[in-house]
Symmetry: C2
Subunit: 325 residues, 2 copies
């Protein structure tokens, strides 16, 4: 059983990471207004959030800057326009994808940048490339995390081997990323266990980034807290790809550290997240995401189904069922 | 840790209870069309659902029959119009509330009724009255459950005392009812434990009925499964009071017994539940339910907020915060 007395209290090592711009940006191609981003930044400060992820450091060779909002690229100058010198307790994070980031040139030394944390996102089969990026970022002075995506499709032996490699890198935190929203809490518990073994051996923190395909993003996140994970991703109004993520407001309600405040989150959601929805930005649980989560598949088919405004669930079900034959 | 090998397999003692008409009826005053109810009945049969709850056996002295749909009263003749002699494996349930049911007169002997199961709903302070109703129903030949509502506000000593009393009654199953959607999974685990202790001592099954105020209805239900609860309430498209219940489609996706089929559920949701939503029936998670859940309050304030179409979350937050002073 989870230790209730520890859950009624708090661990000062918990870190809440706001991923609204980054994972939410996948829903609106990163077209957030400066007003929105500034309000989000001020909200995170007031709410006691520890890190704010501004978006991706995506390669401008690979992606056309005219086809995305600026937070897909997170130039230091754009971040500075929002945060100035960021003389606050809120740290700034960006995500860098293996194979989709020109990190050697685009990530400047930490002392020239407003960014504090580089989150390196990788699949299980590109761990050495992730290590290269982690080493580059660490040598430039950044904190780093390694976010292993699509973890629900990773064999445990492969995971253990990957965690051994990462344990010997300078990374600060090892992240579980349930990209497909496929995991049940009892499976999260086992994966956290594997991560914690490596984390304790090598002095690394463990984090979780969950998706809500089976309405378990919050449940899986607090499961992971009870199992020892300290770094927790969340997004306001659970904005994120497909079914979305763990909702910041749920997580702030759960955490007992008095440094966290739910009220600024409430104000932000009322004013800004409701408006996004009114403006037609679509995310959140629906039946099609349950199906891809249940089948441990990438949600791309469910996202297309949503974009096309389809509601023929049973036809979608049949499409998925024949796909694997 | 939960025993994964048992969760990958199945317990043949699991019983899935469809509570769509009963808890969903609280959202539309029980005005379901006969076409809807008949389709739901046929869906439950095809999906392998074990019990279908048709609604309440509410007192016609207390409640005006002209102000509610017929499933608030569940006359045997109305049920018969849907199920005939119900020569199927699906059993028929109704709910009878302590103090709101004329059970002596309105519940006929089992051999004159299409109903199989009487679910007696009670608060912790009316257990002896619930026992009377259980004894009455059992003596008439019905299966019975006792559903202890608002369990998140019950002191553990009181609960143990109540379970001791109920253990000595003829009730078949002891239900956890998280009316406020206030429980986290680690708290569910402890409550299931208390119920299982009584259940094992007295030969009673344990069940759970969860609400989705903190998006934990499904998570809490599968937590309870892992802890030994066998009777599981769910509703299609999670229709139910306020934030709604555990979604049938999520639960059927989780359960491994091949007798359960998700496809008929998908078809039903596509055709009938989507239509209810289009017709303006409102239920499901929203911020106001998170707040009442978090504060362990009855959701009535959140339901009013929803009915009034309010979106001023921060004012609602302030209203709740001063309420307890």
């Amino acid at each position: 059983m989870k230790d209730i007395s520890k859950l009624m209290n708090y661990r000062s090592d918990i870190r809440v990471v706001d991923a609204t711009l980054r994972d939410g940006g996948l829903v609106n191609d990163f077209y957030f207004t400066d007003e929105f981003v500034k309000a989000l930044y001020l909200t995170n400060i007031k709410a006691g959030v520890d890190y704010m992820e501004f978006g991706y450091k995506a390669s401008r060779e690979l992606f056309d800057e005219n086809k995305f909002g600026k937070w897909k690229f997170c130039k230091d100058e754009d971040i500075r326009k929002i945060v100035g010198d960021n003389e606050t307790d809120l740290k700034i994070a960006v995500m860098a994808d293996v194979g989709r980031c020109d990190y050697q040139t685009d990530i400047l030394p930490k002392n020239e940048s407003p960014v504090d944390l580089i989150r390196v996102a990788t699949y299980i089969n590109t761990i050495p490339a992730a290590v290269k990026m982690i080493e580059d970022a660490a040598s430039k002075g950044y904190e780093t995390t390694c976010n292993i995506m699509a973890i629900s499709g990773v064999r445990e032996r492969d995971l253990e081997a990957a965690l051994e490699i990462l344990g010997q890198s300078p990374v600060n935190c090892l992240y579980i990323v349930d990209s497909y929203g496929a995991l049940y809490p009892e499976q999260v518990q086992r994966i956290v266990d594997a991560y914690m073994n490596a984390g304790e051996k090598y002095g690394k923190k463990v984090g979780i980034h969950a998706h809500d395909n089976q309405k378990l993003a919050f449940a899986n996140t607090i499961e992971a807290v009870g199992d020892g994970a300290d770094w927790l991703d969340a997004t306001y109004a659970n904005m994120g790809r497909g079914a979305g993520n763990c909702a910041m407001e749920l997580l702030l309600g759960f955490l007992k550290n008095p440094k966290y405040n739910i009220y600024p989150a409430v104000q932000f959601i009322e004013k800004h997240m409701n408006k996004l929805k009114e403006d037609g930005v679509v995310w959140g649980y629906d039946f099609q995401y349950l199906m891809t989560g249940l089948l441990n598949q990438h949600p791309r088919t469910a996202i297309s189904f949503t974009k096309e405004g389809r509601k023929d669930y049973s036809e979608f079900y049949r499409e998925l069922m024949v796909q694997d034959e």
